[in-house]
Assembly symmetry: C2
Homo-oligomer: 342 residues x 2
Amino acid sequence: MGTDSAELRQPVMADVAKLAGVSHQTVSRVLNGAPHVRPDTRDRVLAAIRELDYRPNSAARALVTKRSQTLGVVSFDSTLYGPASMLDGIEQAARSAGYFVSVASLRSLDSRSVQEAVDRLRDQGVEGVVVIAPQISAVSAVAKLSSSVPVVAVGSGNQARVPMVSVDNQAGAAAATRHLLDLGHRTVHHLGGPSGWLESQDRQAGWRQTLEAAGAQAPEVHSGDWSARSGYQAGLRLAEDPEVSAVFCANDHMALGLLRALHEAGRSIPGDISVVGFDDIHEAAYFTPPLTTVRQDFGELGRRALGLLVDAVAGVGHAREHVLISAELVLRRSSGPFATRR
Amino acid sequence: MGTDSAELRQPVMADVAKLAGVSHQTVSRVLNGAPHVRPDTRDRVLAAIRELDYRPNSAARALVTKRSQTLGVVSFDSTLYGPASMLDGIEQAARSAGYFVSVASLRSLDSRSVQEAVDRLRDQGVEGVVVIAPQISAVSAVAKLSSSVPVVAVGSGNQARVPMVSVDNQAGAAAATRHLLDLGHRTVHHLGGPSGWLESQDRQAGWRQTLEAAGAQAPEVHSGDWSARSGYQAGLRLAEDPEVSAVFCANDHMALGLLRALHEAGRSIPGDISVVGFDDIHEAAYFTPPLTTVRQDFGELGRRALGLLVDAVAGVGHAREHVLISAELVLRRSSGPFATRR
DNA sequence: GTACGGTCTGTGAGCGTGAACAAGAAGTAC
DNA sequence: GTACTTCTTGTTCACGCTCACAGACCGTAC
């Protein structure tokens, strides 16, 4: 009946305008901080906004400005510590840059799946996408679609054709390996990550190059899937080889499984075997024994990636930018000097 | 200068319509699966869509339908295993329900912060919100704002005034405690989570009630902040008390720190002290020794929460629904029979 | 007095889509 | 043949906002 039943629907700009006794355009100007609005007019508008609890309709704004204020994140397994931390860093940075964050997680690794996820985000109207998917397949898939919307990858490697932020895995692995060699070990075994992951490749490359540079022979690589379980299984095999005195694991979770297996096999750590991990997850300092590892700051990784993306969306920044973040060796008790045994 | 430079801007529905020789409304009908479209017309439209690589403008659609197809997730520390897994489950479920997911993570715990996060999501036009924030303060804050947009909480406790999905923490804690009592321990010590968390409260309640029901005396509670570090510190204190023979930890990470501290103090596990955790994180089976713990399925939690939210958005479902998911005790080597010592 | 520049505000159009309505074509029943 | 229903398509409008433009007002300079 009455035209005043304003509670029934969300207030719109016109309602605010009427209440403040101005035109909708003036309300818009106040909202967007446009110049040339008289202070008392501005105050009346703001008061009306507060009174009605008015909130601008983002769809209407997006329709006319063609900007959704939303960035997308494609992530592979956001259950893992690394991806989860990066997502966290990305969200933080996006918020302070005034963007919303929409996520799409991958269920499988094939490039079609990446394609689908990015398409989904595009359909939603995101202005740019961060891909947390350090698989080779993913990165190459991403490179193809970077035409329609800016894409930034966070991961590893440098063969990507999109801007990228990554930890210097190779240098980190080299530092870990050199540390073990410096302790007197004749060589260092490697428990690598799954093939197809850039991080696996880079860490393995850092390890191998360091051994070669030192004139040490590189033993056969054992591979896991990042999980503690796979580290345990590899550990059982490594424990059978009396020559093994030092192992560099591609991540901390596998190192945990490895420690467990070596312990069960009666090997003392670091007395018999030294172990070094990668990541420095929060728990690493409380493993038995505390794990020497390579620290990488996932949150920083995410923030930097988002920074790059924001630049790309704004049209600033170079297309092939590649930010490399250094990793730091953290010494703990799981690594010790080589001791002659038996 | 030609009007045919179609590459310059994204194609819109009218472009598809012109190419297919129909009106834009027919294109709309095809897109939305409306009835009464002749098969060959439909095919022509679909062909035109493919040829132009047309994608509907989601802002325009949202403007007219008043539906953004987006759900929001408020999360506290998505770096932790639990929240990260729930987020993953939520995203999966949202995708299959046809929704996008937008995240907002909290930097601090106060209810103003929760309010802000939810406001942010509302400004973006989300149709509903899942709050992963098992703090008492958060839940009460959420209850207030559930008026404007449907909200579902995932966490613990039952005092909430919004629909909620949670693990039966109390029963899980009771099972863990009973298990230790059954092993012959006279009582069970408790390393609790931070106060203010519903999960801390519920797990502590389950522990306490079980002890009381068994006629055992409940020792003073030690509290941590969920981290391995805090578990380690509590472990150092507990190790000083020769009466301690069994400890129930409110999560696995603290249990890890506790194991470390007890090990350093020369206590054997489970010989001297039995330890039980909560969560069953992937690593728990590879602790030294493998950890007896209470398994909860975070992914399932997230999926169920999203299911509830979708119902709420659709107007189905009861306002005060509370889904309780059971937790399961997983026996490993860290718990064993009480042995008289010294 | 007129002219001009700056400040402030309002009007109208249009963004791309879905919904309501209208209208033509085709088939069925009498 | 007409009347009626069902299928199929098109036209017009509205969603809520920003942008371009126009106009009103004020002060100052000539």
